[in-house]
Symmetry: C2
Subunit: 143 residues, 2 copies
């Protein structure tokens, strides 16, 4: 039971931008700080932009920043939008014959909702609050 | 965010055995009822046996049955034991540099616990209660 790498990297990008909120950041520096592929991040950053979580400024002095204050970026909302498959189990490929009478599906959806209820109670700011200096150090030393 | 196919199939086997609790079932009939590979189920059934959820009787008249009443088989316990990776995100391969100061991990663990709290409140019996006749029909027609 894991979130996709894609969601994981999306959250890491947002944490990076929340730590360095006072300036624009680049995909290259985020990639180097976390030691993850720049190619992966290009796609992640593009989608975070499309979803309205970050803003990109083009040009030589360009870079990325959060589109809103970290307090206004809800973790549950990010994960719901970035994680494509929220079905918990795949009942349709191949189609499961007991679907019309299956209570497992409803039980798993209830459990998933409880999972998101926790994330919905937190903003991106909760992930960096009181930790900004330490996170900033760790992200530099990762470069 | 999905449980593995392996966990999904484990739950399907247990539901099948709960529906047909009055007799022994075979891997072949379960495989045919759900339209899933017998080879996959052999492994699933073996592990469910090792974990003490089902019992196997060898021989020509042999087959499978639940090791306990469905009321005593907790869904949360099954998923925890069968689903190998409960980490939600992989912080260690490659190692994530912010781990020592990361609050995301703790937040995701809290969300995962909320997910399992829901499953822990249910037994296998809750998944077939009042549905046994209908499930039995669907599992035959799937053959």
């Amino acid at each position: 039971m894991q979130l996709t790498r894609y969601t994981d990297y999306s959250l890491r990008v947002l944490i990076y931008l929340a730590v360095h909120h006072e300036r624009l950041a680049t995909i290259t520096e985020i990639s180097e700080a976390y030691g993850i592929s720049r190619n992966h991040l290009v796609k992640v950053v593009h989608e975070l932009g499309m979803l309205g979580f970050i803003k990109t400024q083009r040009g030589k002095q360009g870079g990325l920043r959060l589109a809103h204050a970290a307090e206004q970026i809800n973790v549950g909302k990010v994960v719901r939008q970035v994680e494509k498959n929220l079905a918990i189990v795949n009942c349709s490929e191949p189609i499961c014959p007991i679907m019309p009478a299956c209570d497992l599906r409803a039980m798993l959806f209830e459990a998933r909702d409880a999972f998101f209820d926790v994330l919905d109670r937190h903003s991106l700011a909760d992930l960096v609050r009181n930790r900004r200096a330490k996170l900033g150090q760790l992200l530099i030393s990762g470069a």
